[in-house]
């Protein structure tokens, strides 16, 4: 049932649903997680450009959206920040729609790498960057985004994010300009790939698009919507709009699982087992296919560039509700019961 306005669902029902989302035991659980990890003040805010260093260490938000469109928010879920590397997973999906699997795979591999996100390493046999989540692979992927000019390509990217999140997105211009002015390493990678014919002639336009896609402003709620849309087979569970062709959902999600958390992806998959993508802005988007999208935001990062509080939140969620993608045992808590609320879950 998609009708949340008008005559389909009564106004009283709609209002009680929104109240129930506030009082649901699952939201209370998230609220407890927020309190539990708010005091965690290790890690550091990314400061390779001055704009990112403006983030406040206390910022912390958790949002979860189910595949039927129920929304649970705690903490700073409206605070905007730049999406950074999280964009890479979704641009990969757009490139697949533009060119198909075979062509995209010829330009960028899907092999996890133990190397850091900014390594300048290409596959020696094929000259392909290792995967769309490392910078080199993301630049090669951005190069595939169709459009007659830079503006049109950017507009296609922003329109795609709007389909996922259900709202308009802007670029943070100071972040974009800073990234562009200081991104020598990324520029070098692009030229190296140009040398091997893995990217086209339009290097400057593609690099601009890459720096712009990383500078898109999102909040924790948007990250949960991105993940929930993938968890829902590519259809935004609130607006019911399709954001990505059904056939490519598995491509995006599997690369998130194997490469989404930088060079901590193996550990993440083992411990948490949710396809996810993190960004140095402090965001993590994670999904439980068929059930839930999760967005976390806290700018304090560990040494590998992943949000510390976000990692803890996802670990707890995975353990407490048995959300590991390969989990066969029953979790301590049943997600559906906790969302609906029942006597067994009431811990006042």
């Amino acid at each position: 049932m998609s009708n949340t306005t008008g005559s389909g669902m009564g106004d009283l029902q709609s209002l009680t649903n929104s109240i129930t989302a506030v009082t649901s035991p699952f939201r209370l659980y998230l609220s407890d997680l927020l309190q539990k990890y708010q005091p965690l003040d290790e890690g550091a805010i990314a400061d390779y450009i001055p704009e990112l260093a403006l983030a406040l260490p206390e910022w912390f938000g958790i949002c979860a959206v189910t595949t039927v469109g129920q929304i649970f928010e705690v903490g700073h879920c409206k605070q905007l920040f730049t999406i950074q590397s999280i964009s890479k997973a979704f641009i990969f999906g757009l490139a697949l729609e533009d060119h198909g699997r075979e062509y995209v795979n010829s330009k960028v591999s899907v092999e996890p790498t133990g190397e850091a996100f900014n390594s300048i390493v290409l596959d020696e046999a094929t000259n392909r960057p290792y995967n769309p989540m490392v910078n080199a692979g993301a630049i090669a992927t951005a190069d595939l985004i169709k459009g007659n000019n830079g503006t049109e390509r950017l507009k296609r990217v922003l329109d795609m994010f709007k389909r996922y999140t259900g709202r308009e997105h802007d670029i943070n211009v100071p972040v974009f300009l800073s990234e562009r002015a200081t991104g020598f390493r990324n520029r070098a990678m692009a030229y190296l790939m140009r040398n091997f014919g893995m990217v086209g002639d339009n290097i400057d336009e593609t690099l601009d698009l890459y720096f712009q896609q990383c500078s898109i402003m999102v909040n924790a709620h948007d990250l949960a919507m991105l993940a929930a849309t993938l968890a829902n087979g590519g259809i935004n569970p609130v607006t019911q709009e399709r954001a990505i062709q059904e056939q490519y959902v598995q491509d995006v999600v599997s690369v998130m699982l194997t490469c989404g958390m930088y060079d901590a992806s193996g550990e993440w998959t083992y411990r948490v087992g949710m396809p996810a993508k993190s960004g140095v802005g402090g965001g993590i988007t994670a999904l439980v296919p068929g059930q839930l999208g999760i967005g976390t935001f806290s700018p304090l990062l560990d040494a590998k560039g992943n949000s510390l509080r976000g990692l803890k939140v996802c670990e707890d969620l995975s353990r407490d509700f048995g959300l590991h993608i390969f989990n066969a045992a029953t979790g301590d808590r049943n997600l559906e019961e906790w969302i609906a609320g029942s006597n067994g879950t009431d811990d006042w």
Binding site: L15, I19, R27, L28, V74
Partner: protein
């Protein structure tokens, strides 16, 4: 397990604050740890019954909702004010009576989720057995929230057509929100009415239990909100009726 009790009525002037104060005090006097939150932000007043003067309360619920302080720092121990000495304890979270503070709430509203989180923090931090919520009359998002989180909802009505109609609407909403236990209390019943017949009629109309019937009382009016009635007149029939209602809340 801690129990949340909302005291509500569709219309104003039914006696919500008076009921909240008397029931909370009655429960605390039996040795329980009890909290009272005045969520009637547009027209607060219950602090008067607990003899808590605005000068003694630098900060109120408003300041918690604006993010200025944790909710525990606006919980005032009023046990001594109502003569509770026997192991129980009574805390009040008042709302601000400053015109500026009320205007700010009316202008900007507040995040209902914060209210919900605050209730829980309060229950945990003060290890409360009972949390009583004094509400603003009528139906609003805030009222919906209080109803939804309550273990017991006590609806107060007077023998009056406007009250009957409004209570029916409120009871419908409460059922929609799957409230766990609903009780009715009839207040300000004039002396010529047959109390038992009235109780029976109301129970048949609303299909809910009437926990108590309270005659219109000059003594209550005379006290004029300066203190808790059941503390001043423990043997009065009205105090006995409060004890009866409190018992049903505790057994719910």
């Amino acid at each position: 397990m801690p129990k949340v009790v909302s005291i509500h009525s569709y219309r104003g002037g039914t006696g919500k604050s008076n009921f909240t104060a008397n029931l909370a005090t009655t429960v605390a006097a039996q040795g329980y740890r009890v909290g009272v939150v005045d969520t009637d932000l547009p027209s607060p007043g219950i602090h008067n019954l607990f003899c808590l003067e605005p000068e003694q309360t630098q900060k109120a619920l408003n300041h918690y909702l604006w993010g200025d302080c944790p909710i525990t720092s606006v919980a005032y121990d009023v046990s001594a004010n109502v003569g509770i000495t026997s192991g129980g304890q009574l805390f009040l979270v008042p709302s601000s009576v400053k015109a500026d503070d009320i205007a700010r709430i009316l202008n900007n509203g507040y995040d209902a989720r914060l209210m919900n989180d605050g209730f829980r923090s309060l229950v945990k931090a003060l290890q409360l057995d009972y949390l009583f919520i004094d509400t603003h009359p009528g139906l609003s998002k805030e009222t919906f929230l209080s109803i939804a989180i309550s273990h017991v909802l006590l609806l107060i009505l007077r023998p009056d057509k406007q009250d009957y109609q409004g209570t029916a609407v409120t009871a419908d909403v409460a059922r929609q929100l799957k409230v766990r236990k609903m009780l009715l209390a009839i207040n300000k019943v004039y002396s010529t009415l047959n109390l038992e017949a009235l109780q029976q009629k109301v129970e048949e109309t609303f299909h809910e239990t009437v926990a108590g019937v309270f005659p219109l009382s000059e003594e209550v009016v005379q006290l004029a909100s300066e203190g808790v009635f059941c503390v001043k007149y423990p043997d009065h029939p009205i105090s006995q009726e409060f004890r009866k209602v409190a018992q049903q809340i505790m057994e719910a």
